[in-house]
């Protein structure tokens, strides 16, 4: 399970816990930071702080689930795929997202979606993690 910083990271941990509870074995968890792989660098827009990519396992030949909280344009996932391929060649990569808000700018779709959400003009999706299994999803300006 590889969480995309920052929203995907706690979700990846939770999903790993769920799998452990269900199957008895917890998958390994890593994180990717896509800041250095973004396609909108140096546009002067607000930048996310640079975080670490930690993949403490051999990616080559492994089965990977990329995890993020919200899927929107698809550019973040595109960047995350590039990061993973700089570390090795996974057997397969699938995508799990909590929320799919549509609005894709690239041909990228999630394999597992928690909820599809419609978002109005000028609104964004905010995900909050409650304790244990609960998550809050709301749209607001």
């Amino acid at each position: 399970m590889v969480g995309i910083r920052a929203g995907g990271v706690p979700l990846a941990e939770r999903l790993a816990d769920c799998i452990r509870d269900a199957e008895g074995k917890r998958p390994q968890v890593g994180t990717v930071d896509i800041t250095l792989y973004r396609d909108d660098l140096h546009t002067g827009l607000e930048k996310s702080p640079l975080g670490a990519t930690e993949l403490p396992f051999d990616l080559s030949g492994s089965a990977v689930f990329l995890v993020d909280d919200v899927l929107y344009t698809g550019r973040t996932v595109r960047a995350a795929l590039d990061v993973l391929h700089d570390f090795g060649r996974p057997r397969w990569i699938r995508l799990a997202v909590l929320v799919d808000r549509g609005g894709r700018e690239l041909p990228i779709q999630a394999d597992v979606v928690g909820r599809a959400v419609e978002v109005g003009d000028g609104e964004k999706v905010v995900v909050t993690l409650g304790d244990r299994d609960s998550v809050g999803v709301e749209t607001r300006r």
């Binding site: 930071d33 250095l36 792989y37 660098l41 140096h42 546009t43 002067g44 930048k47 702080p49 640079l50 975080g51 670490a52 990519t53 590039d82 700089d86 570390f87």
Partner: protein
Amino acid sequence: MTGFARKDLLGLADLDADEIRHILDVADQFRDVNLRPIKKVPTLRGKSVVHLFLEPSTRTRTSFDIAAKRLSADTFSITGSSSSAKKGETLLDTARNLVAMHPDIIVVRHALAGGVRMLAEALPETSIVNAGDGACEHPTQGLLDLLTVRRRLGGFDGRTVTIVGDIKHSRVARSAIHGFSKLGAKVRVCGPKTLIPPGIESLGCESFDRLEPAVRGADVLMMLRIQQERIHLGGHYFPSIREYSRRYGVNRDKLKRWARRDVVIMHPGPINRGVELEPEVADGGWSVILDQVENGVAVRMAVLYLVLGGRRTAATEGRA
């Protein structure tokens, strides 16, 4: 100011503590890239970095070149020496020619202090990174020194850094004085009186002309290279290399008698083995000299990344 939002890096004197810390934090992340099997990220893909080195350098230029290439930038090197009478003119002419080739970043080393500042003002569309301007500043060296100490000691509060050597002619010393004092360390400079510029204390440091009191209690000893030419070329700053080494050189015996057990030894390189440092000290457990080199690439990657971002930020916010 949070983060770093400037189009140029000219000196540590210009930066506030938060900006310096931000560069160090970003450099820490780039250290990780340098440890991967594929030491490349696409961040500066399609960007051009020109190394304009009008004073000789191998290590600094190589370090900047590796940094730029690991960020996927294209690099070009212009080397040469600046002759005394025509320095300023040559620099501006050279720069104007360069601008016609649309570089994104020019990394400049020049023998005249302030040359980089002139370039930065004359070239508003290009990021200028100072790789050493005369005896004024060498900010990326200062930053890698800071990063090395931060990683080794955890921080700067309550720490004392002693710089030993030819302070008068050293841009490394000046950048270090600015950087370490802004981040909260106490700075001492030590050397023959002839090589300590009068008034250096106004930069925020204490000066010593004897090694022992400068070493006692210091957490970090930064040794500067003594240029052998200085004795012979019109200066006569000290009678002989042997005398300099006896009074200001560091060996295991002096460390045992005067220094903290966990003192950290630094040197910007290249080392004059046997002059400022005995080999046993340069290669011993106190030395972080090779860490400095490793951190240098990460720091330069951080700087190249940040000045490009800074240029865009400044442009969109209407600042030059």
